[in-house]
Symmetry: C2
Amino acid sequence: MTNKTYTALTAASGVESVLRLLEGRWKLVILFHLFGGQVQRYSDLEKLIPDISQKMLAQQLRQLEADGIVIRTDYKQVPPKVDYRLTPWGQALCPALDALLTWAENRNSLI
Amino acid sequence: MTNKTYTALTAASGVESVLRLLEGRWKLVILFHLFGGQVQRYSDLEKLIPDISQKMLAQQLRQLEADGIVIRTDYKQVPPKVDYRLTPWGQALCPALDALLTWAENRNSLI
DNA sequence: CGGAATCCAGATGGATACTG
DNA sequence: CAGTATCCATCTGGATTCCG
């Protein structure tokens, strides 16, 4: 924190890594279908997000899981049953996204 | 707001459009060099962000300007002088980014 | 049911050269 | 000084096919 440039770059890269967790065409849509403690099976998410391809759904869920945002539960049955829910940290993302939405809503009055 | 699916998709697309404003390899770095009322000339930003190419700096500034986040001032001198600062709305983004940073910091204690 | 593997098109960003 | 123009590599996401 000794000079402005260093601070700016540090904060910027911090926010950048956060945004990288949320980037990707579908992650936010998936997240919003899991907020509030909702638990969804893979096939539920396919139905809720009709335009997503299987590849993308699986890929984005893997990334969200690896990043500690969602929990994948495999019930090891035949036929397979797998479901997804948010981690506590994933749930805690909600207010931060709300702050962004609020910012967006203030556009007309603030520009 | 009549059912969960509709709400989820609406909120998701709202957040997605916000994130689209911030996407791009360099926008956040630029923003952090303008927060707090800082005013920077084009050449200042080139020095502050040594790895950015001229093409990207110009392009991302154009987009930030078009989105109402930064103000470009051309002093119409020879040699040219142009500077950039945040709009009030751009300044208001700071707390929202802070919320994201705070969320990121809570990762270890919440997962 | 819940994926993985492969192939492909379009978008994104970087390097370089040039300009009013 | 503050850009624009062009070309090229890479990356992202979509379509399709196949599997335990």
